[in-house]
């Protein structure tokens, strides 16, 4: 077994009324990829914040190379050799790649004190070349895909002599191919003796790249396991603390009933620069899958259906009648609902309470004049908090204080409260733990059986084939085909990849 680099023991941290960490710990060794797993609210983020000096622990200790450290700021942690790349890329898209790599530590010209741009450029190229990345470092960072931006962020984190690299949900906005590239990079770094802490929600990714797994539950350490000796079922059981893994297999697929009616019919729906004309029928009680890579036009189609963008070709019929959707309010009036992909920027109102977040869409549909009575609002919110098992102290708690999975449930509750006839879900389970994901999907399937139509946009093939009836596939902003219910993952993949 290789040398222990970082050891955290018995860490405790309390935020107000919640005990976020209660005796958590972990051991990182040189030259390993170590996965940190746990449900939302298990304390992963808090643990990372303690390791990186963003917060200080109430109790417990952190050892680096056997030496006690107590980083008080991220900068101190970085000087000690602990570097972090966060879920959202924390760089400046308008600066060049090189400037981003050197921001805050520009090499100066001797004498004048001016920035030495030649050294910035050459140094940046060298840093990236070490990661096998050959890109033009003088172009703005924002002109590169997210995956590349992420690698630049990693390169920046490694720029200082790093011993430990923490990757917090690095894959959540990457597609399959980009994930593979990231994993290749992680393996190269592992060979250089770096200890990598990999935080993710994707089980298969853990098995693809991690050597060891540490599991947290309710802020406490459950245990450390070698990946090879822990089956997926065992892992999920350790995370959840109960047997839910089998539920996944038993979830019935939502299939179109014989008497189902067409709820929404799109004919030649398209918009220049976003989506080539598409035909799509969605029936009552159906979960229609929408597959394809990121950027294949899935979100664009959802936006057209929801009145967020104006279609410049085609028509939408709702229950047989042609409709003109100029504003999301029009779509909501026709009984549409959309859970957007970007929870933070498009979904939640972080500063508003859970109650206000949940009643908003229903209230917006009812108009501004007639306010829902407070008792009715509270009853409604309590109903959905219970139904979706949203964990909170009080229904007036600001949503920003909830964990990611609970935030997503709040957004879902907002739309379910409107009793929609078409629910569009754009990557509803992104960044959510497995238990929350299953609760959400079980509820959606239950509503579909009661007649709600669902358009389910998802990158994960397994989830797509497991939950959906028919699956429509987009590639390069075209609809390239439709698969019947019961199709297999490889059939979807073939269509997405265009290999047939």
């Amino acid at each position: 077994m290789s040398a222990v680099v970082l050891q955290a023991e018995n860490l405790c941290k309390r935020f107000g009324a919640t005990q976020a960490l209660d005796g958590a710990g972990l051991v990182l060794r040189a030259g390993e990829v170590h996965a940190l797993m746990g449900q939302n609210g298990a304390g992963k983020s808090t643990l990372i914040r303690l390791l990186t000096g963003a917060e200080t622990p109430d109790a417990g200790r952190i050892l680096l190379d056997g030496r006690l450290i107590a980083p008080a700021t991220p900068l101190e942690a970085q000087r000690e050799g602990i570097s972090t790349v966060y879920q959202e890329v924390n760089l400046c898209p308008n600066l060049s790649v090189a400037e981003n790599l050197y921001a805050g530590r520009y090499p100066r010209r001797r004498g004048t004190g001016l920035i030495d741009h030649a050294r910035v450029r050459d140094g940046a190229s060298r840093m990236l070349a070490e990661l096998h990345l050959e890109i033009d470092v003088e172009r703005p960072l924002g002109s590169y895909p997210v995956a590349l931006q992420q690698m630049v962020a990693i390169a920046r984190a490694l720029g200082v002599s790093a011993r430990v690299l923490i990757l917090d949900e690095p894959t959540s906005s990457l597609d399959h191919h980009e994930v593979r590239e990231l994993f290749a990079l992680m393996r190269r770094l592992r060979e250089r003796g770096l200890a990598i802490l990999f935080v993710t929600h994707f089980l298969d990714q853990v098995y693809a790249v991690a050597d060891r797994i540490t599991v947290l539950r309710n802020g406490a350490l459950v245990g450390e396991f070698p990946t090879a000796e822990l089956s997926q079922t065992q892992l999920v059981t350790a995370m959840v603390g109960r047997e839910v893994a089998s539920v996944a297999a038993r979830e019935p697929r939502a299939v179109v009933e014989r008497d189902a009616q067409v709820v929404v019919e799109a004919r030649g729906l398209g918009r220049r620069g976003a989506l080539f004309p598409v035909d799509l029928d969605i029936h009552t009680g159906e979960v229609l899958g929408l597959g394809g890579l990121l950027g294949s036009g899935r979100t664009e189609l959802a936006r057209l259906l929801f009145g967020l963008d104006r279609a410049d070709s085609g028509q939408i019929h709702v229950a047989g009648e042609a409709v003109d959707l100029r504003h999301p309010a029009d779509a909501v009036a026709h009984g549409f609902a959309l859970c957007p992909e970007e929870r933070k920027t498009e979904g939640i109102f972080a500063g508003l309470g859970v109650r206000e977040n949940i009643v908003l869409a229903l209230q917006a549909r009812g108009g501004w004049w007639r306010s829902l009575p407070k008792e009715r609002q509270q009853a409604l919110v309590r109903e959905f908090v219970k139904l979706l098992d949203i964990r909170l102290a009080d229904i007036e708690t600001p949503v920003g204080a909830l964990s990611g999975g609970n935030q997503q449930k709040v957004v879902l509750a907002r739309w379910l409260a409107t009793a929609p006839r078409l629910l569009i879900l754009d990557e509803p389970t992104r960044g959510i733990d497995i238990a929350a994901r299953q609760e959400i999907m079980a509820e959606i399937l239950r509503l579909a059986r009661q007649g709600m139509a669902v358009l389910f946009i998802c990158t994960e093939l397994e989830e797509l084939t497991r939950l959906c009836g028919r699956i429509a596939i987009l590639r390069d902003r075209h609809k390239v085909g439709e698969l019947p219910a019961g199709s297999e993952g490889w059939q979807v993949l073939e269509l997405i990849a265009g290999e047939k």
């Binding site: 929801f306 967020l308 504003h327 999301p328 309010a329 779509a331 909501v332 009036a333 959309l338 957007p340 920027t345 498009e346 979904g347 939640i348 109102f349 972080a350 500063g351 508003l352 206000e356 009643v359 908003l360 869409a361 209230q363 917006a364 549909r365 009812g366 108009g367 501004w368 004049w369 007639r370 306010s371 829902l372 907002r414």
Partner: protein
């Protein structure tokens, strides 16, 4: 106790109480109230009365700021409204229709109508044209006084019409009439915002405009209405000011009012970044500003250092209300206490 301290109105009210108390200590008669000729008299009534125009404008400003906007044209709109009112009265008088209450209603109607139009213009620039709020309202801030001077022909219009003086100087039930105007606007707003869903929509737009749009909130209809109300509130303030002075000065009426209004909103605990807002807090903020002004006059600060003293007091008040600063002060005080024990 902790819940009391956490209440958003706690610190603004504490600040106001502290200022009044300090005045009471310097000047023992300061807090005294007495009834003379059936009217309530005293410094407290005087402060509230003088704060009325600012309170009105600040309430409008609160709602605009709540949706991530700002309106720096309120001072100019105030001047326009004052001028329009004075001009209407003089016109009616010179055409022989100057008797009875007609000029009063005509002046109020014309001034408020023009002020509301000004606000709507701002709102349209922000929402339909997509101009940054500070730039959009800058246009009217600069051009508005020119507009007012066009109407007044560059003169200070003096109003010789008794009924009009009632707005800014009259008493109702022993209290200045202006206080009733402020109270009525406050109550109507409270009802509109709390009993309808408008308050929720305003908070939602301010907290996350994109998510509000995607939830079906029609921000493009609500936001211009808020700017329109802000213009209207500046118009009401213009009526009070011109009535009080019995004249309308296109150049100087409401000078720098926009800054005092923004300050009042901020003192009242509304975040300038939008989202949560407090109308009651804004009223307290306006009272704090007027109390500061009255204090400076009553303790006899020489006019040339007047503004410096006011700025210092404002800074102190803002620091007192900043949670970050209070936290730092607390952590500075704590070890000192520990070493003594």
């Amino acid at each position: 106790m902790r819940r009391l301290l956490a209440h958003p109105l706690c610190w603004p009210l504490a600040t106001l109480a502290l200022l009044l108390l300090a005045n009471g200590l310097f000047n023992p008669g300061f807090l005294a109230l007495q009834i003379r000729d059936g009217h309530l008299y005293g410094n407290l009534v005087d402060i509230a009365n003088r704060a009325a125009p600012l309170a009105l404008v600040s309430m409008g400003m609160t709602l605009v700021i709540a949706v991530r906007g700002i309106d720096i044209s309120v001072g100019a709109v105030l001047a326009i409204a004052a001028t329009v009112a004075a001009w209407t009265i003089t016109q009616l008088q010179s055409s022989g229709a100057g008797d009875g209450l007609l000029p009063l209603f005509a002046a109020c109607g014309a001034a408020l109508g023009v002020a509301a139009l000004c606000g709507l213009w701002n709102g349209m620039l922000v929402v339909k044209v997509g101009v940054q709020p500070i730039v959009a309202t800058l246009i009217l801030m600069v051009a508005g006084r020119g507009l007012a001077q066009l109407i007044s022909d560059g003169q200070i219009l003096t109003i010789y019409y008794a009924p009009y003086a009632y707005l800014g100087n009259g008493y109702l039930l022993g209290l200045p009439f202006a206080l009733f105007v402020v109270g009525a606007v406050f109550l109507i707003l409270k009802l509109l915002l709390n009993r309808t869903a408008l308050g929720l929509f305003v908070r939602a737009i301010g907290d996350n405009p994109v998510a509000a749009h995607m939830s079906g909130v029609r921000a493009r209809a609500i936001t211009p209405a808020l700017y329109m109300f802000c213009g209207l509130s500046a118009g009401m303030a213009g009526l009070l000011v011109s009535s009080n002075m019995a004249s309308a000065d296109a150049n100087n009426a409401g000078q720098l009012f926009e800054l005092d209004a923004i300050l009042a909103v901020s003192l009242g605990g509304t975040a300038l970044a939008g989202g949560r807002f407090s109308l009651a807090g804004t009223l307290v903020g306006a009272l704090i500003i007027q109390t500061l002004t009255t204090t400076i006059y009553s303790i006899g600060v020489p006019p040339q250092v007047n503004l410096v003293v006011k700025a210092t007091l404002v800074l102190a008040v803002l620091l007192l209300q900043a949670p970050h600063f209070r936290g730092q002060m607390q952590s500075l005080l704590r070890p000192a206490r520990g070493s003594r024990a």
